[in-house]
């Protein structure tokens, strides 16, 4: 099938964005990411500026390629052209909650800053008994892609509320730390996660890692807010 892809391009943060169109032939496996890779080979051969984007694993395991495709945040390497096209057209834009660097690259460093502010690390050694392994495993799967923040009505970079991308890694610590070491984490959890979340769960169906956010929330709230541990 012939697909038209429109990419919202801009040379850098200051320049005005414009749509650039190209078309490509889509087979059943081609994704937005492979279309961009092929397009760049073409642009490079023609001596034109290539489209700036980030990608790494090409198999939805690293979160690098998060962008907005036909209005929905997703991983470009997981967006099959035939599945996401609407009447043969696909609009590709950078994530909107983060500052644009160029074309489809955004600066997501706020994700890491928030985790630093929450003190997401173990101060002492974890004593593994395997009881919480399932929760810790699930929480460790977060890609830090930012798709959940993109759809969250309450998240705005720089605000007190840090969103799901900060919550999920916190859930690992809540599952692994002994109750005696939870004091500080409970405080920041309440302030930066629990109190800001409107529980609309818009983020639930968007997570490309398919994280079981409900389950993690129930457990983490129990530990951090209701002090059941």
């Amino acid at each position: 099938m012939q697909i038209t892809i429109e990419v919202l391009r801009r040379e850098n943060a200051e320049s005005a964005p414009h749509w650039e169109r190209f078309s490509c032939e889509a087979d059943s496996s081609a994704t937005v990411m492979t279309a961009l890779i092929d397009r760049n080979a073409q642009l490079a051969a023609e001596g034109k500026p290539v489209i700036a984007y980030e990608c790494s694993c090409l198999q939805k395991k690293c979160g690098a390629c998060a962008m907005v495709v036909n209005g929905r945040p997703c991983l470009a390497c997981d967006a099959k052209l035939l599945d996401v096209q609407k009447k043969g057209v696909i609009l590709v834009e950078p994530l909107r909650k983060f500052p644009v660097i160029a074309d489809l690259i955004v600066d997501r460093h706020i994700l890491y800053e928030n985790l630093k502010a929450l003190h997401i690390w173990l101060e002492s050694e974890c004593i593994a008994d395997g009881k919480q392994a399932e929760l810790a495993y699930e929480a460790s799967r977060c890609l830090q892609c930012g798709c959940c923040l993109e759809v969250c009505p309450n998240f705005c970079p720089g605000d007190t509320f840090f969103g799901m991308a900060a919550f999920v890694p916190t859930a690992r610590l809540l599952s692994e730390l002994p109750p005696s070491e939870l004091g500080q984490l409970r405080r920041v959890y309440r302030k930066h996660i629990y109190e800001g979340c409107g529980k609309s769960l818009s983020c639930r169906n968007i997570c490309p890692a398919g994280l079981d956010i409900d389950k993690l929330l129930v457990n983490s709230h129990a530990v951090a807010i209701w002090k059941r541990k």
């Binding site: 760049n40 051969a45 790494s56 694993c57 690293c62 600066d107 395997g130 392994a133």
Partner: protein
Amino acid sequence: MQIVNIVGAGLAGLSAAITLAKTGIKSRLISLQPSERAQSVLAEGGINAALDTMGEHDTPENHFADTLRGGVYLADPNAVENLTYHAPEVLRWLEKLGVPFNRTPEDIALRNFGGQKLKRTAYAKSSTGKIIMHALIDEARKCERSGLIDRMPHHEFLRLLTHEDTCIGVRVRDRYSGKLYDLHGTVLLCSGGMNGIFPGMTTGTTQNSGDVTATVFAQGVCLGNLEMLQYHPTTIGIAGKRCLVTEAARGEGGRLYIERSGEKYFFMEDKYPELGNLMPRDVVARTMYFIRREPDTGDQVYLDMTGLPENAWKNKLSDLRQELMHYLAIDPKKAPIPVQEGIHYFMGGMDTDEEHRTSLQHLYAAGECTCQYHGANRLGGNSMLGALYGGRRAAETILFDKPLDACQVQIVEGEEPLAEPASPAWIAQVSQILLGGLGIVRNEAQLTAALDALYALRPQNPREENRLHLAEAMLRSALERRESRGAHYREDYPEKQEAFRKMTLAEYNGSVRISFRALPERRHHADHN
């Protein structure tokens, strides 16, 4: 002030940075993209250590012997001894960092992996790399907070800064601002494998372009065993790459077969009754290559996991099943899946001594970018270990040697020719030529034809030129190893030759030079026990 510039933020880079931070030495963790996106997060099946938690009387000495044998005696035995004897300690450290490994009721559970008779591979379902990386990143964040790690997650390595045969720092480009910086201080390269030499043909990440290896080679750093490419037996083609089907699938009981005279022929079990489907990867890949070419067999090999117990799907391979259903629309619980060999790992890379020093003073290397530990063929589960332990060991060596007393950051004005990338068309051309010579089965005619084709190319910029030298070194290493060993199989020299039990060394000094270096003998090792 002392500062160590670590290029690469995967398992090796993180492990090194954390080790340095523990002694109060600061590092810059330079990478194209954040750790969360490094290839290390893709590792699936597990990590090896003779923890002996499964009642099989495993020992580090067994792990040592399997690693050396798996690599067909082309690895430095003293380095391998360090690796395998310290492996249990590395695993216990990860446990303390909260890595949720699968467990038996008492301890870390271990699974079977290729080339090893005993259960020795610790795992977190089949996302082990991601889960370990998550814990390491958390640990690194703690050091970041105390100012001992400076994460530089969107910076590209351009070249080493050198002064009279000594490395004094690195030149990097901020991918976001486009600015160039010279970062002074000792350098540790942890830049991963060379996937980008074969774009679209490997199981790894697009980030590891091979440019770091190509550049430092052109700058005089010696490389070793470049002919040793690991083809993984079980990969599937997905958009833009080969996707790995982890060896754990076979570790948990998956079986390879091909159709022969209308029946399923489980060729690995027939040919290698002892280890069967879990022979080292080079053997499995080569057997698949030849079995497809027999007159009475089909041309597709299948991986049959339909006999796996329910427990394996539920607790150990649930993520693999999801992945296969997603990409192939086949439920591996119900039907076999078609698989093919794909480039997966680079045993060759920067040449280091046992302590991770490269040929250039004040330059160190660890992880997949080196040729350390794995010889002619890497065992599954040994590379995460090699990266974690190697990163730590390199950091310890840097501490022992004392890091350079330099830390300045200089903004570079003006042009840097190496900032211009190689063109995709050029890369594709070189890749095609290399594949013509460096297949699973090789011969002199193909290798010389590939070299001739390579010599006819005209690079357009310095990066293309560097890649050309690297490609030449790969082909000539393969040409000059006139024997078959591990991943390097020459149909014109099908036997292993004792005279070639030597490391292939590649050097560049205006032209590429290939030589062979004898391996050290194993020292006495009683002090480990």
